[in-house]
């Protein structure tokens, strides 16, 4: 049974920043891509430079262990297609929508797993299968957890951590 540890007060420091660091490692290690944190102003500027109506994908991975929560990665679908092509070695125009969604889920899974392994190697977590959905582009930090903007290949993406219970109750 998980103990009621707040995601914002985990041992080892800022969980969201550590999740972002994990995504950087995944991007560089498996995707030959470049990810970095960015401040709110840059994130807003990158959003403003894109088509407001473009589809986004959101992939959530629930984790259960000494503490539990949900890690969510949101990114423009066009970026997901490019990254999926890089990862799979297939041409972007040959990718089916299901492949792109599957890849997006695996990307969130790898980031979440890399974060937990790197930050809490002596602990044991179970990761649930990723849930991928079409999303509207984010407008900023929302919900019961915490979120942060990043860039991936100079496109805006958003990472979020939230308690398993969407109301934030433990």
């Amino acid at each position: 049974m998980s103990s009621p540890i707040s995601l914002q007060h985990l041992p080892g420091g800022d969980a969201l920043a550590a999740l972002g660091d994990a995504l950087v490692r995944v991007a560089e290690g498996s995707l030959f891509a470049w990810a970095e944190p960015c401040d709110a102003a840059r994130f807003e500027a990158l959003l403003a430079a894109r088509d407001a109506g473009e589809p986004w994908l959101s992939a959530s991975v629930a984790f259960v262990g000494p503490f539990e929560g949900i890690a969510t990665l949101s990114l423009p679908e066009a970026l997901a297609v490019d990254l999926c092509a890089s990862f799979s070695g297939l041409a972007a125009e040959d990718l089916a929508a299901d492949q792109v969604r599957d890849f997006t889920g695996e990307l969130a899974n790898m980031a979440c797993g890399a974060w937990l392994t790197h930050s809490y190697r002596s602990e044991r977590f179970d990761l649930r299968a990723p849930v991928v959905s079409t999303a509207v582009r984010p407008e900023g930090a929302t919900g019961a957890g915490a979120s942060a903007g990043m860039t991936l290949n100079d496109a805006p993406i958003r990472l979020a951590l939230s308690p398993t219970d969407p109301a934030g109750r433990s």
Binding site: V26, D102, N109, C112
Partner: protein, 140 residues
């Protein structure tokens, strides 16, 4: 899911079973295995441990690359089931997982896992794994 069979392969090249709930990850591992420069026989795929057991029942397999966290039947459950079957005793087990925790690694070692690869991994890591575990082709 029906296993996918690769092209005809040289005699004695090991057959490989890739077990991962992500089709994209299976395709990536399969591609890297094919490009690794080592002899590889038929490459089978399964989306979870239960499907993997079905493949093992029907086909000779020398290498199993398995994820840990999967729906239906996890990689750990698959490895435990393999322990119970004498005919699968010599199948080489390799874990490929985002979960690299100490306890998971120790558990894998107890289940006769030869190598543990953490995701994300670079393609050359998979090449090195296959090179270390497969016999060198004649003349190499």
């Amino acid at each position: 899911m029906e296993p996918v069979s690769a092209e005809a392969a040289p005699e004695a090249a090991p057959n490989i079973l890739i077990v991962d709930d992500s089709a994209t990850m299976r395709a990536m591992i399969k591609r890297v295995a094919a490009l690794a420069g080592v002899p590889v026989g038929t490459i089978f795929e399964a989306a979870n441990g239960q499907e993997a057991l079905g493949v093992l029942d029907r086909h000779p397999v020398q290498f199993v690359f398995t994820d840990i966290n999967m729906p239906v039947m996890t990689g750990t459950e698959l490895l435990r089931a393999m322990q119970d079957r004498e005919e699968w005793r010599d199948v080489v087990r390799i874990v490929i997982s985002t979960d690299g925790s100490d306890s998971r690694r120790m558990e894998a070692a107890d289940l006769n896992v030869r190598m543990y690869v953490e995701k994300p991994f670079r393609p050359e890591v998979m090449r090195d794994v296959l090179s270390n575990l497969t016999p060198a082709p004649a003349g190499r």
